[in-house]
């Protein structure tokens, strides 16, 4: 009896499996995997990324190219191996056809490498912003609709040097690829304008006690650049305030993002007036942007979201929108190794809330960048007020490829501070 039961169960399992395989690539529900940092230092960032993704899916009625979307969300913790494990699970166990994510810089590099071993699946980056991900040995099936950390820094160095008059800067950053890339972009701008970076301090991602780092900050500089994010940023600000710090601050992109500006406690007040840059500015009066903010706010009750979408929500939203548009374009057809779908992504001109986004030959975004400053709004919340916008920022930051390659790849000490590159 037991054996018969087991037999019929396996038969059912087998049929379920074969129908699952049959559904692939033609019709029926489409499985989409999501990688987001829902654990560790960047938990809040990952959560808002998923909200951005859901905002896009709600807008599309949870259908892509006429096919119902079956979403599988996989948590990571900013470490490359957690992203790799997550991607393997999504692709090999759940059998997803498209992966959206990951969120953090070094995860992106790991997923680019993994995507080469899974040519049947299309990977659309969520928010990760290390330069190498698309610039060094790019992968054919890895697409990135967000600009990278260096592109996010465009315009900031020039602004703080010429408008704020800050000529010497020391940097503090988390010790990993994304922050290297951010300071790479900042240094190019700032040093070209005539500024000098006197010292670069690095802390491990996930540092809780910044007491000694704060004491080690030099007193004789005009401003301090902070390349921290999530919990690290909140901890730093909290302890910075306790230590009575009062230097001018310059924010890295996720240092002054909604994820930090909405945190509990009053540590974030130290950020008011801090200039920063990134792929969005919260107070931009553009119609598309305001529509997106509205649909984000409508999609979730006020206590389960930020007052306005963080850049993680926006980048995941953009990645999902690109996927939805191209799925509609090919009518949900992912046969032939997803050739039509990928072709569409490559040539897509995405009308995103943050302006038009196109891809270069490495499938890396070329888009607008915003310089902003933290202000307190009337309702007491903090937001990034728009200062200026730079259009068509390419991954080589406006340099010829040869000149850009001569700068080398972002690292702790690279690039040197020079007046021309």
């Amino acid at each position: 009896m037991k054996r018969a039961l087991m037999g019929s169960l396996s038969a059912i399992a087998l049929t379920a499996m074969t129908t699952g395989v049959m559904a692939d690539g033609h019709s029926g529900p489409i499985k989409i995997g999501v990688l987001a940092t829902l654990e560790g230092t960047y938990t809040v960032l990952g959560e808002d990324g998923v909200r951005g993704l859901n905002t896009a899916l709600i807008g599309a009625g949870n259908k892509a190219g006429g096919r119902e979307i079956e979403l599988i969300i996989q948590s990571t913790d900013t470490s490359p191996d957690s992203a790799l494990r997550g991607a393997r699970k999504l692709v090999e166990q759940d059998g997803v056809e498209i992966v959206i994510g990951p969120l953090s810089g070094s995860e992106g590099i790991a997923i680019r490498d993994y995507s080469k071993t899974a040519p049947g699946v299309t990977f659309i980056n969520g928010a990760s912003g290390a330069m190498e991900t698309t610039y060094v040995t790019p992968s054919d099936n890895f697409f990135r609709f967000n600009t990278d950390g260096a592109q996010w820094s465009v315009g900031l160095g020039d602004y703080v040097f010429n408008e704020k008059g800050w000529e010497t800067v020391a940097t503090v950053g988390e010790d990993y690829s994304f922050v290297y890339t951010q300071i790479f972009g900042f240094a190019k701008d700032f040093c070209e304008a005539g500024g000098e970076i006197t010292e670069r301090l690095w802390v491990p991602l996930g540092t809780k006690d910044f007491g000694s780092i704060i004491a080690a900050l030099p007193d004789d500089v005009d401003a301090i650049y902070l390349g921290l994010g999530g919990g690290d940023a909140v901890n730093f600000l909290n302890q910075y305030q306790q230590a009575g710090g009062d230097a001018n601050l310059i924010g890295g992109t996720i240092m002054v993002d909604g994820t930090v500006l909405s945190s509990e406690g009053n540590a974030k007040q130290a950020l008011i007036g801090t200039p920063s840059s990134g792929p969005q500015a919260d107070t931009w009066d553009n119609e598309n942007w305001q529509t997106f903010v509205k649909s984000y706010q409508d999609a979730f009750p006020p206590d389960q979201r930020f007052p306005s979408p963080s850049l993680l929500a926006t980048t995941y939203y953009n990645a999902t929108s690109a996927m939805l548009q191209c799925m509609d374009d090919v009518g949900g057809d992912l046969t032939d190794g997803q050739a039509n779908f990928r072709n569409c992504l490559t040539n897509l001109e995405l009308e995103a809330p943050t302006g038009t986004i196109t891809l270069d030959e490495n499938r890396q975004a070329v888009a607008s960048n915003f310089v902003s400053e933290v202000v307190e709004l009337e309702d007491g919340t903090l937001a990034n007020a728009m200062i200026s916008k730079v259009d068509n920022v390419s991954q080589t930051l406006g340099l010829e490829k040869a000149a850009f390659d001569a700068m080398g790849l972002p690292s702790r000490e690279n690039p040197e501070c020079k007046t021309s590159y």
Binding site: V44, D77, D175, G211, I213, V234, N235, Q242, G244, A267
Partner: protein, 337 residues
């Protein structure tokens, strides 16, 4: 101390010289040559004091852990969970009442009750079964972590200290001399000083309670030989419950402290479980002075590492653990056997 000096004259000499050098480093105005080699004095002093205050926090968490282990041989891998729960409870207590100080008793009592429940419902049922206890407490910590994520959210929570505690205070330690002869004094966050003093007071009180009171005597007797103690008529189960509640309550208080000068978020439970494991392995399982010494070493290693060799800061902690395990497997102040 004299006995130690007679038995190990060379070691005593080395220790004395180290102490003198340390005192000189702390109080003297550094000559420029030294500043060129190891950086400004302000950085060194801050790292030293931050290491000590961080050690204070680690001590609060680890002393409960080591007390529970020492007396009951319970490996409570849900100890980090108690820390995190204390932080959340303290945050809401401070928010609702508006008094930061009130967060401490509330966290102590609530988390202490959780400790009692753990002891009565879980550990008493599997006394002496190490493996089962370990697995069950890992399970509990995972379930609780998810429940807390559900109940309190995934945000970074920061308990704001009252205004008289925020900001820095000028200490009497000289960090540098200006060209005109003025001395520059070290500024240090008040909240960290208060936390350190509280940890010292608590540590001394615990040592006194263990060594000078009747209950302490019972606990120490229980650590040495549980069966003999119960044979003498001591109501050992009540002692167990009391110690567990106290150890858990300490973890709860540590959660409030951690939430005040760092932050509370999902994942902190694992970090502090790991920290207290390292601390008690270095210091010696079951020893309160050992926990203090281990916490101090780990705190200093983390802070000096973060300033002087940031790349290897994380490794340093575990290096200390490896060295201790290699040369003194019972821990620095642990008893062998």
């Amino acid at each position: 101390m004299r006995r130690y000096a007679n038995a190990h004259p060379i070691w005593t000499g080395i220790i004395a010289i180290a102490v003198v050098i340390l005192l000189w480093l702390i109080f003297a105005v550094w000559p420029p040559g030294l500043v060129d080699v190891i950086g400004r004095k302000k950085v060194f002093l801050s790292a030293l004091f931050n290491g000590i205050t961080l050690g204070g926090l680690y001590f609060l968490v680890a002393s409960g852990f080591t007390l529970i282990f020492g007396l009951m041989r319970n490996v409570n891998l849900a100890h980090g969970t108690l820390y995190l729960l204390g932080g959340y409870v303290g945050f809401h207590a401070a928010n609702i009442t508006g008094y930061w100080l009130l967060a401490f008793p509330v966290a102590f009592v609530v988390v202490g009750i959780c400790g009692v429940l753990l002891q009565v419902l879980v550990f008493r049922r599997m006394e002496g079964e190490d493996l089962r206890q370990t697995l069950v407490t890992i399970g509990i910590s995972i379930v609780m972590a998810d429940l807390m994520l559900w109940g309190f959210g995934g945000d970074f929570i920061n308990i704001s200290p009252p205004s008289w505690l925020s900001g820095p205070v000028e200490t009497f330690f000289v960090t540098a001399e200006r060209r005109n002869g003025d001395l520059v004094y070290l500024k240090y966050p008040v909240v960290r000083i208060v936390i350190f003093v509280a940890a010292v007071v608590l540590g001394v009180a615990m040592w006194l309670a263990l060594n000078k009171t009747r209950i302490g005597m019972m606990i120490r007797a229980g650590v040495d030989d549980r069966d003999m103690l119960s044979a003498t008529g001591a109501r050992i189960q009540i002692v167990f419950v009391g110690v567990f509640a106290f150890g858990a309550g300490l973890a709860g208080i540590a959660g409030v402290v951690g939430g005040t000068f760092q932050s509370i978020a999902p994942g902190e439970d694992i970090r502090f479980l790991l920290a207290s494991l390292v601390v008690v392995i270095v210091g010696g399982m079951g020893s309160i002075p050992g926990a203090a010494l281990g916490a101090l070493l780990i705190g200093l290693a983390e802070q000096f590492g973060s300033v002087y060799f940031p790349t290897y800061a994380v490794v340093l902690t575990f290096l200390i653990m490896v060295v201790v395990l290699a040369f003194r497997p019972q821990g620095l102040l642990g008893q062998s056997g």
